[in-house]
């Protein structure tokens, strides 16, 4: 049985497997997953999420950042992972790196360990 923190809101159970793979609360945690993903991983995420994006965003539009329950938070984390990973499928040919770029591992996000739903990003 799934723990409370592993569930998604009603109507999004089909995304549970993707959430287990991708949903993380912080940019640093999501980057670590993205950097080791394959073109097939990005393609699978895109194929599953893009048709569901309208529904996901509609559900999250009803959620204040500082008032999500655990299931909504998990859906948010999956959507955040998709938001950051989509360009790798759409623009970078499935590469985990941005082509012809500086090493992403050398960029330090000041907010990297802050939960991405925080209202106090500065």
């Amino acid at each position: 049985m799934m723990s409370a923190t592993m569930t998604l809101p009603e109507g999004f159970a089909d995304l549970a497997e993707l959430a287990a793979r991708w949903a993380r609360p912080t940019e640093n945690a999501r980057s670590a997953i993205r950097w080791t993903a394959s073109a097939e991983d990005f393609a699978a995420l895109h194929a599953a999420m893009m048709p569901r994006l309208d529904a996901v965003l509609a559900r999250l539009e009803g959620c204040p950042l500082d008032g999500m329950d655990s299931a909504e938070t998990r859906l948010f984390c999956l959507a955040a992972a998709f938001a950051e990973a989509a360009p790798h499928h759409e623009l970078y040919g499935g590469s985990a790196e941005v082509p012809h770029s500086f090493s992403a591992r050398r960029f330090v996000p000041g907010h990297g360990d802050t939960p991405s739903w925080s209202t106090a990003l500065r």
Binding site: E61, C63, A86, R106, S116
Partner: protein
Amino acid sequence: MNDLGSTGLRPGAEALSHLGRSVEAIRAELGIDPVSVEAIRDPAIYALEREKIFRRAWLKVATAWEIPAIGDYKVKELPVADASVLIVRGKDDRIRAFHNVCTHRGNKVVPTSDFETFGRARANVVTCRFHGWVFGTDGPLRSVPLEGSFGTLDKACLGLREIACESWEGFVFINFADPPEQSLREYLGDFATLFGGYPYAEATTAFRYSTVLECNWKVALYAFSEGYHVPTIHAGSLPGFRGIEHADFKLIGPHASSTIYGLGMEAAESTARFAGLFHAGTDHGPRPDLLPPGINPTGRSDFQFELPNIFPNLLIHLASGCGYPGMAYFTHQFWPLDHGRTLWEGINYFRPARNAAERVAQLHVNALHRNAWLEDTATMEDTFTGIRSGAIDEMQLMDQEFLIRHAARTLDSYLAA
């Protein structure tokens, strides 16, 4: 402003029309000759820059919304000035800057863990961990343990050493000169008017990135100071960027500015969906009406963002939601750590998300822009290596690279002073 008459300008734009330069005027004023790379290559010039630029010019070190509450502080490490700077909001709500140095024996009052450290002073005091000297957030030395054991101690003269600190539109600047040659407002001059009035303080959601680049600080500054590179360097992250036009050149004393117009990129499927979320409302949608009148003075619908160079090391790219979807503006800063090492800081600013979906859309746009910065920074260390090799002695600069030409001339004038 480029080749424009006085008709069809937005109200208020005329007042700044004297800043505008046509391409011909830029060429006449700044020349068309190649520019020497010696100022980038020569460590002796960097030593001069430390004294004659970074100890004389106003330097942006914080924003008011980073330290919104009384007692909030930020410590900024500035190796270029051999300084650790404490920027703190006092009990009187005023933001001051001090050397983060205990007047007892020189220890840091606030310990730091990185180039930037944030915190909140309890009871409006900061206490040195070495021996417990206590300073008010307005500077005075409040108490000293075992004070009687010093024999004599003039506490009134032992407050934190203050650094000139002034704000413009919520951007907090310091000046190490004592006293500065000009007020911040005088230093910014017409730039303060050109960029003034935009609600910067409402875009408090910030995504800050930094990295240490093995290059001279001006290599990094110059790489971000032109739009000529966009179709090539950003072919990956900004595919099909159509009709880009770098125009409206402006010279503003030591500062300069220009405008990027364009039809934008062919948005990917997900980007189009996320942008739609922003464009549905006025909070995050394009707000060209909020731009100060001297920026995009004719109200062109293809405005993307204003690209200035605020001497010596700050860029504020003002987009007002017209460029990257939902983004109000973004900034760059280039802090020398040594002749051949630079701390680059890039910050994307958005208005606060009203719900979780808007934050997800912000994360997407932020990632796209971060990735574009990864493309930008890819050139910098190679460029510096190339310049150091001695293979070239000059940069060949085209019209759209006039911000570089202007910055190099301003730098020379400061070094000659």
